[in-house]
Point group: C2
Chain length 157, copies 2
């Protein structure tokens, strides 16, 4: 199976609730390139409800957030011509997150995320995301991602 | 025990993952007045991790979001001089959510939310929130909450 951006995270940075492959309680979102855009598909659980029939807004925000920071890391590797996952790792955190909820997001079908890189600098990347269900854009996100400060990076094995 | 804003939600609107008292998988945040501000305290779980020692950003966004929509409902009752929980219910959804992550949020101590109502209209309320751990503001949120569209409201029992 094709490896996602998150599957290349170093083990010490792989426990995020939203995107860590090693967080067994978490959402474990998986992001991939599709040309110049990044994509992810998330299958919500019944309990990810706002009210009957619709996804709660915190989930929408969470998956946009983690998909964006993963995209930022992948984009950095690509910008430097480095193989994804090569050391030292790129790993981004969120400086700001903005979500516009355009329509209620139906709970049931897969949620599709599709992101564009709006601005890329060495330590700061801006990502914009459309969140779609059944081909309708129900939310739009904008994330300013910054490289994780060095003093917060656990030792990389 | 004092009832929170969320404890007054009608049963049909009480299943939100973030704030529904009837979502057994959910976060079940509880919000209260403290003078003109609203407050909530959230106790994160170990798995709500971004990376070791810190809370993941999606949780920060989620609790700001739900605390804000709960505050919007409570503020509407108060603005109309009605008892909270009286019918017909006020229930708000999020039109937009903005979070600035100022510092990494330590994972372990209680997370405190403290919100101010910036603007209040009949169907639209703007709420700003400081999120604090150990008295340090680690994130700031701004939510534009709008009354849930009538056609989305399940029948109230």
């Amino acid at each position: 199976m094709k490896k996602s951006f998150q599957d290349y995270y170093p083990e010490t940075l792989s426990h995020c609730y939203g995107c860590g492959p090693n967080n067994t309680h978490g959402l474990q979102i998986k992001s991939y390139w599709d040309g110049d855009e990044s994509i992810a598909v998330f299958h919500p659980e019944k309990h990810h409800m706002a009210f009957p029939g619709f996804v709660y807004g915190g989930l929408v925000a969470s998956i946009i957030d983690c998909h964006s920071t993963g995209t930022a890391a992948a984009a950095s590797y690509r910008a430097e011509g480095r193989e994804i996952g090569s050391l030292p790792p790129f790993r981004f955190v969120t400086a700001s997150l903005h979500v516009d909820y355009l329509l209620p997001t139906p709970l049931g079908p897969p949620i599709n995320l599709r992101s564009q890189i709006i601005e890329i600098k060495k330590r700061k990347i801006i990502i914009e995301t459309n969140l779609l269900v059944n081909d309708a854009i129900t939310a739009k996100g904008r994330v300013v991602a910054v490289q994780i400060p060095d003093h917060l990076v656990p030792e990389t094995s």
